[in-house]
Amino acid sequence: MMMFVQFFQRAVMQGIPLLFGATGEILTEKSGHLNLGIPGIMYVGAISGVIGSFFYESSVGAANINPFLAVLIPLLTSILGSLIMGLIYCFLTVTLRANQNVTGLALTTFGTGFGNFFGGSLIKISGSDMPAITLSATSKCFKTSLPFADSLGVIGKLFFSYSFLVYVAIIVAIISSYVLNHTRTGLHLRAVGENPATADAAGINVNRYKYVTTCLGSIIAGLGGLYYVMDYASGIWSNGGFGDRGWLAVAIVIFALWRPNWAIPASILFGGLFIIYNYISIPGLGAEQMELFKMLPYLVTLIVLIIISMREKRESQPPQALGLSYFREDR
């Protein structure tokens, strides 16, 4: 039992960066933009937070940090970083109508380069002998969890033992789902992604919707990077540590059929699949073969993708205008 509780906790913590990324990407895709820059944006979200926190920690000294500011400053720098990334993407794909795939991939190259560059530079400044930056003090503030969780036993451990960003991720996903399906803004946004010409004719400002949601999506995805480094990795940034999580987030978008609320269990499931080889042993399979389990998220996503294209059920298809730029005079 304790084993399961521990596994579940780890799965959630693995899943939360993915959830942030997936929610951000879902919102973006709902506006008709396939943003393959999400991995880069999450990277930038992480390193921007690290930069903010690094300079705050080193200016006042790790021992004297104000817990409130220690959270607020990285949060703001992270948001700023991913917002700029989102704006670059929007300017190129919405205003200049550039190819979304090429722009997104370039953004990922740029973002990971940006992250590794500043990560590497900070490591050098800090003079650490390990190839990593350690921000334990800040991380501690991020990791503050609900005080009563321990007193609730297993339920407390399963559901209430996490830090605030975990709940932010879940709440953001739920709110996104609600907005998409139950508000006028959501209706208009979905119309933009499905059929921009119709939306335009109905008097909806197509480009404004694209800009706002894509930038908002970037910010949300960037928080995934921040959570990863501050909480999951306990404030330790090492270049390349973030891995392929950005692409896993893109996979979850498909797996959850473009529904943010479905992305919540999907993220935890993917998080679990990612670490399950540490927890179960199948007779005859060594640790090496267990590495195969990490393939599962991609494999199941592929199967979902194939099934939805075969079944042709309209509700589970990608937004119809996904990947196409909109130009009014093309109608």
Partner: protein, 359 residues
């Protein structure tokens, strides 16, 4: 309302289009220079000199540059037929990796069971097959059920990487978590060095491929069919082209070439396999191909451009003690500018005549 509106250009002289692209590269380079000067405090001209030095400074650097161009170009050539057909294959990374894995496996298991030339031949064939399988699977689903190829090939990349991870974890050398250089002493399965140059054969092969691809796209019937399908599926059907067959056949070629690139990377350069063997070239290749308007000859230029900036930026970072990832930032900025410039080639901004004097 704003005082201007955007209209599609009917056409633009080719030289004007290239002038705009050239200007965008210069503008991008200028922005990079500002960034570099800001970070290092060096004179911009100095910076440029350092970049040139980094790319061409020594014979070794020139060979490294050529090898870098050859590998990037090879994968770019591979993705081009698919893109020309408007099939968004972003799975070159995985296709090349599978090819590389096949090569590495041959090097590990066949070793001296076959004469070296036959071993290399088997490596080429298995690599190309592995890449082709990875390319045809998404094509089949696209042709049969219209499955979104962008997302499909993306997933295939990571499945390939995971397969490589498993392979590595099983056959890792000692506890290092990676595979050492294979057949380091016997050099079995290594691409022979010609005239003392390890990379020469690679470069020559890719050059020949460039010409073949150019001829294939421009002069072969299959290349012609690819263009028609890419331009208008309606026309393709009107003249009786079997669109599904063309999609699968083209992705087969794409995959074969990606597999070959994997072989060249493993046999001709790394002599081992890792998750990073392809090193993101599968994605960069998309930009190379797209920026060159899918013309193999122009792709020599665009891949040179990107590799030059990459190597140059690495040199700057070494001299100024910056992080090596600096080059990704520089390459990213340059690409943003080139992508953005296409807008000014395809559209023009006109002032609103009506707004001022309506009525």
């Amino acid at each position: 309302m704003l005082g201007f509106h955007v209209v599609k250009r009917k056409n633009m002289d080719w030289w004007k289009a290239w002038l705009i692209r050239g200007a965008s590269i210069i503008l991008g380079a200028a922005v990079c220079a500002v960034v570099i000067v800001f970070l290092t405090g060096k004179d911009p001209l100095d910076v440029f000199e350092t970049m040139v030095d980094g790319a061409f400074g020594t014979e070794r650097r020139i060979w490294a540059l050529l090898q870098g161009i050859a590998m990037l170009l090879c994968i770019s050539l591979a993705v081009t037929p698919a893109f020309k057909m408007k099939f968004w294959n972003i799975g070159a990374e995985g296709q090349a990796l599978m090819g590389g894995l096949a090569s590495a496996a041959c090097m590990m298991f066949i070793k001296d069971a076959l004469p070296n030339w036959l071993l290399i031949f088997v490596m080429v064939v298995t690599s190309m097959l592995a890449g082709a399988i990875w390319g045809v699977i998404p094509a089949f689903f696209k042709a049969r059920w219209g499955t979104n190829e962008t997302l499909f090939t993306l997933m295939m990349n990571y499945i390939a990487m995971q397969i490589v991870s498993v392979f590595i974890s099983i056959f890792a050398t000692g506890g290092s978590g990676k595979i050492d250089v294979l057949n380091a002493s016997t050099k079995l399965g290594w691409m022979p060095s010609v005239g003392g140059q390890a990379y020469l054969l690679n470069v020559v092969i890719v050059l020949v491929l460039t010409v073949i691809m150019y001829v294939y796209l421009k002069y072969s019937k299959q290349g012609y069919e690819i263009s028609v399908v890419g331009e208008s599926e309606n026309t393709a059907k009107y003249i009786g082209i079997n669109v599904k067959k063309v999609i699968i056949r083209t992705m087969l070629i794409s995959g074969l070439l990606c597999g070959l690139a994997g072989f060249l990377l493993v046999s001709g350069a790394d002599h081992t396999i890792a998750r990073e063997t392809v090193g993101g070239r599968g994605f960069t290749a998309i930009m190379v191909s797209w920026l060159a308007k899918f013309n193999p000859i122009f792709m020599v230029l665009t891949s040179f451009l990107l590799v030059f900036f990459e190597k140059g930026a690495i040199q700057i970072s070494q001299i100024c003690g910056l992080n090596a990832s600096f080059s990704d930032i520089i390459v990213g900025i340059i690409i943003f500018f080139i992508i953005g410039s296409e807008f000014f080639i395809n559209y023009e901004i006109k002032k609103n005549a009506k707004e001022g004097g309506s009525k």
